[in-house]
Structures are given as C-alpha cells and as structure tokens.
Amino acid sequence: MTGAANRRQQKTWSMFGDVRRRPTPYEVVTGRFHYHFRRDPVPFEMDPEWSLNQWYLAHREGSPFQVDDWEGFRDPAKLTYRDYVALQHDREIYLDALVDRYEGNGTAATPRSGQANPGQAAPGRPGPGWVDTLRTLFVPLRFPLHVLQMVGLYVGQMAPSSYITNCAHFQAADEMRRIQRIAYWTRVLADAHGDDLARTATARRAWEDGPAWQPLRQTLEHLLIAYDWGEAFTGLNLVVKPAVDTLVNEMFGQLAEANGDRFLAELCTEFARDARRSQDWTQALTGYAIERRPELAGVLDDWVTTWRPRADEGVEGLAELFTTAPRPLAADVTARVREVHDEFLVGTSI
C-alpha cells in the first residue's frame, strides 16, 4: 500500500519542508512541535470560545511581539533534554564535590570562642555578623527565585515555537537548581548556628514584611500577572532576571568573598553559568526578532522602560542589606547592577 512518493527515501521530517541542509539531532527533536500556534481557527481542538483558546489567542497570537516565522530561532546552546541533563549532571557533580570540601572543613561552623574580632570571619569560618547577613539576605532568597521559576514556566508554555519553549523550561529548572543549593546550605547553617535559620517563618517573614524585600516582591508579584507572552519574556529575561542574577550571583558572591565565605562565593560563580546561558538565548531571541521586524525594537524597548524602574527599585531595596555585612563592599551595589544590566541590554539589539 505504500505509494510511490513514500517509497522515495525520506531524509527528514516532512514538516520541515524541502530543506537543503540535513537537520541536526537538536533540530530533529525540537522543531515544529507546537501544532497549535496560529492554528485556524483556534489553537486547540476545543470550542473556539473555550477559555484557554481565548487566552492563547489574546496573549500569544495577540501579542505585539510577533514575527512571521519563529521556527528559525535556535538556542545558542542547542540543548536537547539529553544534553541538558548531561550538562547539569556534570555541574551537580562539581557542586556535590564543592559542598563536600566545605562541609569537610567546617566552613559553616561557629568560630571557636575567644577568637579575636568575633564580628568578622576567620578564614573559611563565618562570624556571627556574617551569619546575621546570611539570615537577612541569603536565607529568604528562595522566595523571589521561586517566582523567577514560575514566570520562566509561563514564558515556556506560551512561547510560539518549541525552540523557545525549551529554552524557557530549562531556565526554570535552573532556578530550581539554584534554590535547592540555597536550601541545602540554609540547613547546614541552621545546624551550626540555630534552627531558626531553617524555619519557613524566618524566610517568609522577611519576604512578606521585611522593608528591604518589599520593592522586589512588588515587582515580582506584578511580573506574575504580565500575561502577554512578549511582555512576560521581556519583563523576566531582559529586565528582572538579569538584575536579580547580577545581584545574587555577582554582588552577593563578592560580598561572601569579602566576608571570608569562600563556599558561597564559589557557589554564586557556579550559578552565574546558568544565568549566562539564559542571557545568551535571550539576546539571540531579541536579535532574531528585530532582524526580521526592526520595529520590534520599539515594542521591546517600551516594555523595558516599564519594567526597568521596577527592577531597579527591587535591587535598591536589597542593596541596603549589603551595607550591614561585617565587611561591606566598596562598590555601590545598585550602580554596579545597573552597569552590568546596561551592558547586557546593549547585546539585545534593542
């Protein structure tokens, strides 16, 4: 029953059309998986009035962030699932070893009594002043980072191409990775310095009521309801996440280093690898879109203009906590975050 046309040896998926170049294994398992994008008359095989059909029509098909064809976009890291777990398997082995090393040398433990200058850290050991900073600045971080995870998943489920969806989904998983390492170390700190560090209330209270956390919480709660997919992508990947990533991975890492906490400094350096991957695909996607429709630079810029002050306020709020560390940074945290952010935005082609 096989027809003559079918007997001709097929080189790749027919949905890819008449391609000149042989698709890569990454493309074979990524391209054209979203049958529902711009499907006529509605995305899903349900009543046209069904809420989710209307939601996707309004927030995805109806977004001002559109090009004719999103299927030409490629993740610069070209990650398949298999590559992603292989990559992070390696990186987690590295982190397991890092934890081993610092657990072994008692980094988290309280300095022995009688130590000179107890407010400051002995090499490799946090002093009580630093533990206070960890309590107020480090321990609550899992709350805002969890919001980044949530919004990343929203961007993924709304993206018009599976090439974009997968990038966003890996990014969300990376947020969970970061949160879990923070959670682990929080427990280690609590074992050394008091169980209250590991109580939910310690983190939640700061997140819900701590004045330093409120600007960021306000920004993130609003980001949760930025439902236009283009705006969600821009608000998260161009504005809020790069700012938070610099604040946590770079500035907090430096603060840890300055206060003798080598473990957290190295942990933050590791987190920055994931952040860099997020920034790479973000810049690739904005470049891809603007190359096809230069006027999209204005669309993205409007969203950046809306979200930038909100992100900056969030950073300013937390920057205050940096000054209370036993050895504060000489650099102005807010200014440095802004500077790094500006550099990143230059690479987005806006």
């Binding site: 059909n53 397991d96 899992r142």
Partner: protein, 426 residues
C-alpha cells in the same frame, strides 16, 4: 557526597508559599488557568507529593537513564532488528508514535502550567520536573522513529500526525487538548496525572514494554520502560490534589473530573492498545487479552485507588463501561481495517483461523458477533465476489446503477445548511 540526607533539607526547597500583597489571588491564579474550586489559597499550601526527588538526584538519575536508552537505540539502529519484526507489531508501534510522541511533548506545557499555576510551591516543583520529563518523552519518541525513516517512511507521522486532520490525529488532539494542553492546572492534575497517567499509561507502558521484549523489539521495550519510570513519579501530582479537594468538601469536583476523563481515555486506549494487544501482536507472543489486561490492571487497580480517596466508581461503570470491554475495540478493529487508507499504519486483520479461535476463547461469542463480518471480507479475498471492488460488491448484491440509492433531494439540504460552525451556533 554531601552529608545531609534529603529528608533533612528537602522541606526547605518546597515551602515558598506566601500571601500576596500587591496583586490579587485571582489575578495570579485566574480560574481559566487554575481553578481553585473555592478552596482558600492557604488550604493548598499543605499539598504533599508522595514521591520526593531533588534537583541533583533528578539530573544524576536522568542522565544515566538517557545514556542507557540512547545506547540501545544506537546499537539496534545499526542492526536488522526492525526489518525482522512482525508486520503487525510494526503497525502497533507506528500507530503509537503518531498518537503519543508529540502529545507527550505537549504534556510538558501542561506540566509547566502546573509549574506556574499549581497552588503550592511543592506542587510547582514537582511539575517543573514533570515539564522536563515530558520534554524528554517527546524528544525520545521522535528521535527513535526518526532513525526509522529510511526503513519506514510512515515513521514521519511521529512528528506530523498532530498537524494533520487525519481522523485518529484529530481524536487525539481533541482528547489531549481537553485533558491537558488546554486545561487548567488543578483539573490537569486530576485528569492528566491521576486519571490518565496513573490509570492508563503507567500500566499500558508496563504491558507494552513486556510485549515489546517478547516480540524482540528491544529498542521500543527499552524506550517504553524508561519512560514509565518518569511517569510513575510525576503522575503522583494527582493524588494530593484529589485529597485536598475531598478534604475541603469538593469530592463532587474530583469525581466529575475523573468520570469525565476516564471515559474519554478509555475510548482512545481501546483504539490504540485494544487493537495492538488483540490483533496486531503476534499470537504466539500474546500473554493475555486486552479485556483481561483491562480487568486485572486498569479496572481493579484504579477502582482501589478511587476508593482510597473516598470516590465512587464512575456512574457509567457497570452499565456502559464494563460491557464495552467485550465489543468496543473489536468494532473499532473492523472499522479501521475497512477504512485502512485513512490511517498511517498498516492495520493487521489478525483473523486467521487460529487467531479467531483465540478471540472466541477470550471473548466467547466473538465469532457470532464479529466473525461474520470478517467472513464477508473473506468472500472478497477468496474470489467469490468479482471484481473484488465496491462495484463488484454492488453487482453481487444485484444492484444496477439505476437502482442504487441516492440522496432523495439531490443534497438540497446541504446547500441550505450553514457551513460555518459559529453561524451554526448562532
């Protein structure tokens, strides 16, 4: 390895629930994406997943699993194993890939919807792993058939089916969009993860993996059993969701969601697995009939789970569902074989004399009900009807072209009918 056991720190990875201050709950969890069914926001915070896993454990495990499965595929791909498989079994897997591969990937959207709109941080984490799992299943189940393209052009349907209007693909789209791609997070947990994954696919995958090994399809067997280990984990999002609904007096909601999706899943399952087990799998490799499989695995296990939650069996169970186990997929088999040009696999009639004996033994009365239909086809194939075409059959029946029935009004009704769905509704 890090010194702390998972249990010592795990709760700190899943306690990120807070009260909103700057936006409203119904804005962050709008009903169309996350129907809370009236439970207070904080009631969801105690949502507790039965299966715990951390990110490091996840990537370590999954890395090993993927390495194993892709290694099997690389070896088998260079061999003649596929060519030597029974034709009926090949049909079963080509049908499977078309209906399942892309929908598994789409389930990653359902998981990310739960990862965003699930109502507890612990749930959102489980769904984040689920998002990755389903991406894995979509990718692995397209990668394998892609490797078959040179040998089997129809493997293209693993990628293409959901983009088409082929009727089986349309049925799959209708079911899966209803179940998860276009469903809210809470209903998805009950309908996709509890009803479909726990109820059907977990068991189906175990059954298919065993059958694959029996027929010598090591590739497919390795694939399916590896996928099943992920399903066993992420399917557990349904249970705590149902528990909370029941605890807060919304047993009616849980019951209705299960009733609805069990029925729809059964209909697709009968098509895919019913035909595969009772007709496409070579007789010598059949362990049990589809009905036996359904009764022993799906019906018994699933009913036990319903009852554990205080739910009742669906209202249609005794009167409609159980009787269908005797006939529904046999009717589908006839229909699909008759209309075989409309499917992307080669339907295997599976009614040689010894197969009929087996069917009669497993389904007493099969011969009287269904065997007769196949006898008519036998008359065609045996040369009693000449030519063996529609025209030949009409002549055999004694109908001349002038006598054959035609539409009484020459389709006048169709000219007047609205074609547009929205006009029809209006």
């Amino acid at each position: 390895m890090p010194r702390l056991a998972r249990s010592e720190w795990y709760d700190l990875t899943r306690d990120m629930n807070w009260s909103l201050s700057y936006v409203k709950e119904e804005e962050v969890w709008p009903a169309e994406l996350s129907n809370g069914f009236g439970l207070p926001a904080e009631a969801w915070w105690v949502w507790d997943e039965p299966y715990k896993v951390t990110y490091p454990e996840y990537v370590h495990n999954q890395y090993g699993k993927d390495a194993g499965v892709y290694a099997v595929n690389a070896v088998i791909g260079r061999s003649k194993v596929y060519e030597q498989l029974d034709p009926g079994w090949k049909s079963a897997i080509i049908a499977h890939y078309g209906v399942i591969a892309i929908p598994e990937y789409l389930a990653s959207l359902a998981e990310s919807r739960m990862g965003r709109f699930g109502r507890a941080a612990a749930w959102r984490n489980m769904a984040t792993f689920g998002t990755l799992d389903e991406m894995r299943h979509g990718q692995i189940q397209t990668y394998f058939p892609y490797g078959l393209l040179a040998k089997e052009p129809r493997a293209d349907w693993a990628h293409k089916a959901l983009h088409t209007n082929e009727w089986g693909a349309l049925a799959a789209r209708s079911l899966f969009d209803d179940m998860f791609t276009a469903n809210d997070a809470v209903s998805t947990a009950v309908q996709l993860t509890f009803t479909f994954e726990t109820g059907f696919t977990n068991l189906q995958f175990l059954g298919m993996a065993a059958d694959a090994m029996k027929v010598g399809d090591v590739d497919f067997g390795a694939l399916i059993s590896s996928i099943q280990t992920d399903e066993a984990r992420h399917s557990q999002q349904g249970e705590p969701t149902i528990k909370l609904l029941v605890e807060h007096g919304r047993k009616d909601v849980a019951q209705q969601l299960v009733d609805h999706m069990f029925w729809r899943s059964w209909r697709l399952f009968a098509l895919l697995t019913g035909l595969s087990m009772d007709y496409y799998t070579p007789l010598e490799h059949r362990g049990h009939s589809f009905k036996e499989f359904m009764r022993e695995w799906i019906c018994k296990q699933f009913l036990d789970q319903f009852r554990d939650f205080g739910l009742e069996k669906p209202w249609y169970w005794d009167e409609h569902f159980l009787p269908e186990l005797d006939w529904y997929h046999h009717a589908l088999q006839l229909g699909i074989w008759y209309w075989r040009p409309t499917v992307w696999w080669n339907p295997d009639a599976g009614v040689a004399p010894e197969e009929r004996e087996w069917l009669e033994e497993k389904y007493p009365g099969w011969h009287d009900t269904f065997g007769g239909h196949w006898d008519v086809i036998d008359r065609f194939l045996g040369g009693q009807i000449q030519p063996p075409t529609m025209e030949g059959a009409l002549a055999w029946m004694g109908l001349s072209p002038d006598e054959m029935g035609r539409d009484a009004t020459d389709y006048a009704w169709a000219q007047a009918a609205p074609h547009d769905r929205s006009a029809a509704r209006g």
